[in-house]
Every structure is written in C-alpha cells, then in structure tokens.
C-alpha cells in the first residue's frame, strides 16, 4: 500500500513524477532490480542500468497491461530517432531501440521512474539490454483446426439491419446484464445456471426472419444451415467473456457468429497449452466446426485494446462497442463427439454414482482410509504448495480463515495474525493437528458447522476430488461460499486428470521410468475393483490418469516392503471442470484459475 503511494498516482495532473529523494531513490532502485529480473524471466533477456546500450527496455509496461506502440512512440521520439519498437504480445515489457547511444541515455535519464504511462498512471521503469527478443509477430493466419473466419461476410447496411433487431438500453438489458456483458436470446434461452438450454421450453420469439438472408448466402457458398437459436451479446470496451466451450450437449456443430460494430481478438486455447489469438473483424462470419468447436475453449479477454495485425507487424487497436450474433442449432439427444475432455455428455455417462452409493464409497474408500494411513500420511505431507502459502499469508491481520479438509494442519499456524480454524473428516488427522496446537473440529465438508459469512478466507486443498459425484462436489463449494463473508476469498486445489499439462508434474517425475520415456499403459492392462454397484479402475501410481473416477492405492511400507495397501477413491478433474463448478454459483467471481504441478486451482471471491 505504502509503496504504491511513493511511486503512485495521487497527482494525476502531473505526468512526471517529482524528483525522488534519497530514500525513495533506494526504493526505486529496488523496484527496478525486481523489474529487471521479471524481464529476464519473461523474455530471457538480461537488462541492467549500469551498461547503457541503444536498447531501452520498458520493464513494467507492455501490451499486456495496456501500453500501446503509439504511446511508446510518442514518449520516446522526442529524444532522438527510433530504430524500432518491439511490443511483445502478452508481455508486460517492451523494447525501444534508438539509432544512437547518446539519445538512448538521454531518454533513460529523463524518463526512468518518472514518466507515468504504466498501468494506473504509474511511472515506467527502464533498463538497458545487450540483446533484443527475436520478434515473431503473431501469425493471425494460424487458427485452430475447424475454425473459419470469413471477412466482409455482410455489408454495412446489413450490419445496421441486424443491430436494429436488438435494443440494448442502459436500463433494460435484454435477458440479463451479465457480470461482463449484456445478452439476449431468441428461439431458446441459454441458461447460465445450468449451462444448457431447456430444450422443452422454446421462447415465444424465434430467430428473427430478418436474418434469413444469411442462410441464403451460406447456401450459395455450399453450407446448408438454419439455426433455431440465437444469442446476441453486447460488449462494451473492456468487457469480455471467460474462456468456455459451448456446452456439447446443448448445440450441434457448426457454431456461427457474426461480429458487428467492432473488431475483436478472440482467444482460443487448447488443453495442450496452445493459445491462438484469432482476429475477428467487424462484419465477418466465424464458423466453428470439429476440433475448434469441441476441443478448444474460446473467450474474449476483458481489455480495451487488442493486438491486431498491421502493416509493420502488430499494433494495438482500441475496441469499440461490439455486438455478436451467435447462431446455433439445438442438439437432440446427447453429444457423441470424440473430444471427450470438454464433453458434458461424456462426463455424465462416466459419472452416474448415486448419492447413496457415493456416501458409502466415500465412507469406505476415503474416510476409513485416511484413518488408517493418518500417521504415514503425516510423514509424507510436509511440503506446502507455495501458492497456498501466499494465499494464507495474504490474509489481513484479524482475519478468520477456515481450512476445510485441513488434514494434518499443513497450512495452519502459518499466518500468525489470523485466527485459523481447521476441520476434517478424519479423527486421527485432527489428533495430529491438536498436537501441533491448532483449532480444529470434526465435520464433513458437505455440511460445515459454521455460521454464514464469518470467514474472510477459505482454503480447501486436495479435498473435493474425494467426493463421488458432481452434486456433492457442488454442495461442498456452496458450503465454502456460505461461510465466506462478501468480499472474502476461497482457494481450492484438486487433482488434475492431466498430470502432464505443461510438462511432467513432479508426481509423474517420481517414477524413474517416466523420466526416460513415456511408457503409457493401455486400458487393457487395467485392474478394476468393484464396490457395491460401482466398478472402477485401480490407478497405477506415477502414471497419467486414464479415467476421471478411480481408485488410487496408498501403500504402507514396512522395512522396505509393502505391508498394506489401501484404495482411495478419487475423481480427478478435467481442465475447466473446477471453473465450471464454481461458475454455476452467481454470487462469486473467479479471480484466477491455474494449473500447478498436477492440480487445478481456483481463487474466487464472494461478491454478493
């Protein structure tokens, strides 16, 4: 807090920061060293203040936090001729190359720590670099398989006509003012609470006949398509839509979208880590088929500027109000696609465990197992996840923090200025907590015995993957939300089905064989275990997960040999699955969601 005031934004009328005093000079130097380290980490290019070169690095500002090539140009050109400016997509730094060294030094001395063009009117911090990043401008021609963007599909007059069909007033926001945009539905309502359409309840107003010219035009181009559902989205500059896949079971392929009023960049992401920004110009038609429809998420990053192709390479483009018409056909029956990862139909088929059986399964293959392995578990669970520590340490003094499923209390007693309460299902694990002096009580995460709205923070680390159906997993999240106060935050970790998302997680690396080559086991090799009416595969430890619902063995060793083996039930999460569960609640906002070492993780805030 104090830091941001020193280099802060209080005197907005002053574009330049006052000359720093001795103390704040030290502070500035410290900040610069930090920034230099970030640049080196992000780009691999070392930068310093001691060895002036022609290459001036803006270390704390770039395309990712709103700095444009134009502003950089304007700010630096008065010091001498510029050779070029290198803006890096997705990075919070950029490089300004001067024709001669004296000008570079001059600019550095006048601007560093003073010129307030960084985010929130903060001053930019500079450095010199010996080398420059290899510029590989975004190739907007590379698209996910199955995606087509047809530019100039409609004329300006037709754009006017479509825009006139929907009236988005400030007050009357169609079918709802979403957190980040306004929407209106025709034909069928897409219900965000169930993430699907109610196929038995068509709306009175179907897809407007004024759109018919589109289907004739498509037909003349060889595509026979007539939608029965239309969703109109209205985005103001700065608004967006989170990465999502259109619910498989709700809509057939293809998905069609006409963009009106403003260009936009749509981000396509694949679970293998690929990220392709796709330039979607005004008056274009986007067609999503196959892989791009089923196996990639798409979204619009909320920002006011987009990186777009320009003659010189890339540049930043200011967004205007954008309206999109998304035309879809309602799917009859379940989705039969081959892209199972994001398929809700597939998920439902895989998971049909009733509450009654789920409770028994959890009792025998989760609760009882933790009682049996508590001591051994305690010996092996010491290394905390750094992001969980950061979360706990970020809680303000006097906060109340609840650790749901606290296990041996690994994350308790860390922040000395908060009151933390832990709870767990296992008596033996709680005994270990009490030995460490922590406040704990015994309960099930499906019904947490705490008053509403008392917690400033909730953590739930590696717990809800032990719940045996989606209803129960949702119930546990709703309990976390219930005990949080408005403005309070929760952090959830669950095991990821994909243990290899970025690179091998440490879970896989512990298997020596995996370090050399990937010897995948096939489904035929699997051993299955039946419990009640549920038959689930037994996982081979230190291997990729082949299924979402399975038993993971816990081996107790006695003098080097396996003395006992317990089967723990797990539901390992697909990408976006945790996000999807959290987003079904409308009183929370997702702050961030990420992958860490074989876990899907999410931070969300209770907003009402």
């Amino acid at each position: 807090m104090a830091e941001s005031c020193v280099l802060g934004c209080e005197s907005e009328e002053l574009k330049f920061q006052m000359e720093p005093s001795g103390n704040s000079l030290k502070k500035l130097e410290r900040k610069m060293r930090k920034c230099h380290a970030v640049v080196e980490k992000e780009t691999g290019i070392p930068c310093s203040t001691s060895n002036p070169t022609k290459n001036v690095v803006v270390c704390n500002s770039g395309l990712s936090n709103g700095l444009t090539e134009e502003v950089v140009m304007e700010s630096f050109m008065s010091f001498g001729t510029l050779d070029r400016i290198i803006m890096l997509p997705g990075k919070s730094c950029c490089f300004v190359v001067f024709k001669n060294l004296a000008n570079a030094k001059d600019a550095f001395e006048h601007i560093n720590g003073k010129l307030k063009i960084a985010q929130d009117n903060k001053p930019i911090l500079l450095g010199y670099s010996e080398t420059l990043p290899a510029v590989r401008p975004i190739d907007f021609r590379v698209k996910p398989p199955g995606l087509k963007v047809v530019p100039d599909f409609i004329s300006e007059a037709e754009e006017e006509l479509l825009l006139s069909l929907v009236n988005f007033d400030e007050d009357e926001g169609g079918d709802g003012v979403m957190k980040h945009r306004q929407v209106k539905h025709f034909g069928f309502e897409f219900r965000y609470d169930i993430n699907n359409v109610d196929k038995d309840a068509p709306l009175e107003v179907g897809v407007p006949a004024e759109c018919d010219f589109l289907w004739d035009r498509l037909k003349s181009r060889g595509l026979d398509f007539r939608p029965d559902q239309l969703t109109v989205n209205h985005y103001k500059p700065g608004q967006g839509i989170p990465p999502h896949v259109d619910t498989h079971s709700a809509f057939d392929e293809p998905l069609l979208s006409v963009s009106l009023s403003s260009d936009i960049v749509m981000d396509f992401r694949h679970r293998n880590g690929k990220h392709l920004p796709v330039f979607v110009p005004r008056r274009s038609l986007t067609i999503m088929n196959g892989e791009s429809r089923y196996d990639w998420t798409h979204g619009i990053t909320p920002r006011k500027l987009d990186v777009v192709p320009s003659e010189k390479g890339i540049t930043a483009n200011e967004r205007g109000v954008r309206v999109s018409f998304t035309f879809r056909r309602i799917r009859q029956g379940e989705c039969e696609c081959i892209y199972k990862s994001l398929c809700d139909s597939h998920r439902r088929k895989a998971e049909d465990i009733s509450n009654e059986i789920a409770a028994k399964l959890e009792s025998t293959h989760v609760h009882q197992v933790y009682e049996d392995i508590a001591d051994h578990f305690n010996e092996t669970r010491h290394k905390p996840w750094p992001n969980v520590l950061d979360f706990v340490l970020s809680m303000k003094p006097g906060s109340i923090v609840v650790d749901i499923g606290c296990g041996n209390g690994k994350y308790m007693g860390i922040n000395k200025n908060v009151f933390d309460m832990g709870c767990d299902r296992s008596f033996n694990l709680l005994d270990l907590c009490v030995e460490s002096g922590y406040n704990v009580f015994n309960c099930n995460c499906l019904s947490v015995p705490l008053r509403d709205g008392i917690a400033d923070g909730v953590i739930c680390i590696a717990v809800i993957h032990h719940l045996a159906n989606e209803e129960r997993r949702k119930q546990s999240i709703s309990e976390m939300i219930r005990v949080l106060r408005v403005g309070g935050r929760a952090l959830i970790y669950v095991w990821a089905k994909d243990q290899n998302y970025y690179r091998k997680s440490s879970y896989l690396k512990q298997n020596r064989k995996n370090r050399k080559d990937e010897t995948d086991i096939t489904e035929q090799d699997e051993i299955k275990f039946s419990f009640d009416r549920v038959t689930l595969p037994i996982h081979t430890n230190r291997k990729q997960f082949l299924h979402q619902d399975l038993f993971v063995p816990w081996k107790l060793l006695n003098e080097g040999t396996i003395s006992d083996e317990f089967l723990r039930y797990y539901h390992v999460f697909e990408e976006n699955e945790l996000d999807y569960l959290v987003r079904t609640f409308d009183d929370v906002e997702v702050i961030e969601s990420y992958y860490e070492q074989g876990n899907w993780c999410i931070v969300f805030e209770k907003v009402k």
Partner: protein, 156 residues
C-alpha cells in the same frame, strides 16, 4: 452465580478449572476448543434446524493457558463476534471476570478491556465437554479439545 441470566440451554454441569502458570508452554499442551471457535459454530445444517445458534456448552473440564496478547488482533476480531453469545458462554464456564455485557464504543483504545476479551477468546480452552443444539438438544461431544460436529446421513 447469576443463574437468572443464564438461558436454559446454556447448562453448566461441572467446571474443573486447571490453571497453567504463566510460562512458555510446549505446543502439544495446547489442546483447545476456544470460545472464539464456539462463537462461530452452529448446528444449522441439521435437518429441521433453522438457526442452530448459539450452541449450548456443557463443560467437563477447561484449561487456561497463557497466550501472547496482540491488541490489534483482538480489536479486529471483535466486530466479527456475536458479543452477547461470547458473554453468555464466558459466564457459563465461569470465566466472565467482569467482562461487560455491552460492548463499549471505543474498545480499540481500552487495553484492559482488550486483555479481558483476549483471555476469554484465546486463553480459555474447553478440553472435554459437549456442545448442544439449541433447537433439537442434539449433543456434540468435545474430546481432547476437538468438537465432533459430524452428522449422520439421516440428520442432514
């Protein structure tokens, strides 16, 4: 004893207070169910229970342990408490120590008051006893400082 002020559901059975002298205590001695935790607990997720708060306290034995006093922490925690529930709970277990029934306006600067709250919230541990649902009378045992709030499937 001001029994007249004690609601029927806050029934005091036995109170054998073990005082531990002021010294640095080994962590493992800190078995606890603190009144701060009690202030947050409820039985509302039980079937048929609407509020489930506050839970009654039946004490078998409590322990008093010295904990470092952090006035800032205490004054930040106070607004999160249900004060009357804390007061009644402290009274029930005989640890009231002239803690005022009404919360004063300017408690942040009243060090004596904060110390008393600190004592009640953090230094008193219920080691064994039970918590009682105010609506159904369902008892939740406290053993070794751990309240067992688990519900059976048919109670949810």
């Amino acid at each position: 004893m001001r029994l007249g002020l004690t609601p029927a559901f806050l029934v005091k059975i036995v109170s054998s207070v073990v005082l531990i002298p002021a010294r640095s205590v080994h962590k493992s001695e800190l078995v606890k169910m603190k009144l701060l935790t009690h202030n947050m607990l409820t039985s509302k997720s039980m079937k048929g229970v609407t509020v489930g708060y506050p839970l009654g306290i039946n004490v078998v034995d409590i322990k008093v342990t010295e904990v470092d006093f952090n006035p800032e922490f205490i004054s930040r925690i106070i607004p999160k408490l249900d004060w009357s529930v804390l007061w009644k709970a402290a009274d029930t277990i005989g640890q009231l120590d002239d803690l005022p029934k009404e919360l004063s306006q300017e408690y942040e600067n009243d060090n004596d008051f904060l110390k008393k709250v600190h004592h009640v919230l953090l230094e008193v541990d219920i080691v064994n006893g039970e918590l009682v649902c105010p609506e159904t009378g369902r008892k939740f045992p406290i053993n070794n400082g751990i309240p067992n709030m688990l519900l059976n499937e048919d109670e949810v």
